[in-house]
Amino acid sequence: MKTIFAESVEGRRAAGHAVPVDDNAPRAADMLPAALLRKNPPRLPQCSELDVVRHFTGLSKLNYSVDANFYPLGSCTMKYNPKFSEYVCALPGFARLHPLLAQLPRTAVYTQGALQCLYEAEQWLCEVTGMKAYTFQPMAGANGEFTGVQLIAAYHKSKGRRRPKMLIPDSAHGTNPASAALAGFETVNIESRDGMVDPEALARAIAQYPDEVAGLMMTCPNTLGLMETKLPAIVEELRKIDALLYYDGANMNAILGKMRVGDAGFDVVHLNVHKTLSTPHGGGGPGSGPVGVGERLLPFLPAPRVRRREDGVFYLDENLPQSIGKIGPFYGSFAVVARALAYMMRLGGEGLARVGEYATLNANYLKKRLEGVLDIPYDRICAHEFVASAPEGMRALDIAKALLDRGFHAPTIYFPLIVHECLMAEPTETESKQTLDAFADAIREIVELGRSNPQALLDAPVTLPVRRMDETAAARQMVLTEDMG
């Protein structure tokens, strides 16, 4: 693929963009040590404005997005992001606010609307999840996980005890062990039984490490797309030793408006706002991973917290002596929280409950349509997503590549690790029956092609700007730099 350097023509410029040079101004080159100065001018592309616009518009057309196509990437909740939320967060009163205004005594008055947004978003999330309070500081889901396990660590520390072990089921979200390790915990794997967290395996782990278990990180429904059915027994096991139960909100879309995790006995939860509450996703970010807590973890939340005085004035409370401190800058990704609040207010309680219903209905419909085409290892009602295995003799990777040729994003492949040749599809609630049917038909056609002409499957993709990548060579011989001359 051509880079912008390929468009470069010696001496070409974009007219009128360069600042006039002041010959009398001090020059950086005179102030820096000679050893730090470069020998040659940098090799920058020399292009006209139109060259640049055409180049990047061309690249943007190669991008694949939810706005253009179906994106059933399991565990990622790639739902449509309504334009209404974009309108709200782009209102100049929000978009042009400087975050420091809220902290300066004379200007705080100008930020009442923004603080109210944060305050009300917190109230909404508390109502939806049954938690006592939220922080918006974590900048993404994994940052939220880190915050959550830090809160668990702070809780045990405040009780004057060392609890170095974090239990993580093998059906949990993939980032959990990394977040726990980053917060200083040693992780202990809990093997699932028949796709569920097994309370007996949990009890065995607790018995194996007496007085050492800090908590259990659960993803519910789990990464197999199955609702955990043994929750009360799990909560009871943990309560016996005053260990805390963490809810990974990656799969919150399945239970939105249907189950309040606080009521179910979870002590701390992170939400992936870009998934569940339909804000922009991934690279384009920024992300937002608010963390909610129950009574026991309340004193340890990051500072500041937004509070409301009796006269209705909102203010930032920094007086939190047991707080774990700051996790992110200011109050988190404010524009993302504003989008999330707009989304929740627009849908209302009834609409949010329908999200969970339709997400679950769509996943079950798609699973049913694919029975007999793919192998479905867990033959029961699924939540918002499901796992399938490539049919005997076929690889998930090849089916995924062939889907790209047919205009669909592939499901997540080779995750979770406990499923052989795994394809994990999450259609989300925003897709129509027609889209789901077209996707199921495409997979059926691909599997038939794999039987009649296996080489055609190995050759995919053939319609995209690039053919099959050599992923192994890319991983073994990484080239992460470009010679800039």
């Binding site: 192998d375 290892p377 080779y414 690790l417 192994t472 991983a475 073994r476």
Partner: protein, 126 residues
């Protein structure tokens, strides 16, 4: 590919060849096939202590990263550092490619013979 009869096997898919008070450790054919193309091996250092059931390194493939779990107790006497630049040896010749050599501090326990290990692998596939 069949699993050599002169080796012992761990349920976490490492093989062990015991020679007197020394053991040689690698990963099995089933392990390399499940992982797919291996792209990186994180190795321990000679002199490190290993304990049965505890991780001593990891392997990364295009699909996943997995811990290497020691099947034996002892001290590492040598590490196959050719794996740093050529991890694909583990895919091509899993039973000729050793990862660590260990001076045993106790006799290996709880390992399987080739027949029992084959049965174990069958149960892992859905």
């Amino acid at each position: 590919m069949s699993n050599p009869a002169d080796l012992l096997y761990a349920d976490s898919h490492e093989w062990v060849k015991v020679e007197g008070d020394e053991a040689v450790v690698g990963i099995t054919h089933f392990a390399q096939e499940s992982l797919g193309d291996i792209t990186y091996v994180e190795l321990p250092a000679a002199g490190d202590t290993v304990s049965a059931g505890k991780e001593f390194g990891s392997v990364e493939s295009v699909k996943a990263a997995s811990d290497l779990v020691s099947p034996v107790n002892g001290e590492i006497t040598a590490v196959n550092d050719t794996l740093e630049n050529a991890p694909e040896q583990l895919n091509g010749k899993p039973y000729e490619t050793w990862i660590i050599r260990v001076k045993l501090s106790s006799a290996p326990e709880g390992l399987m013979n080739a027949a029992a290990y084959e049965e174990h692998c069958k149960n892992e596939h859905h």
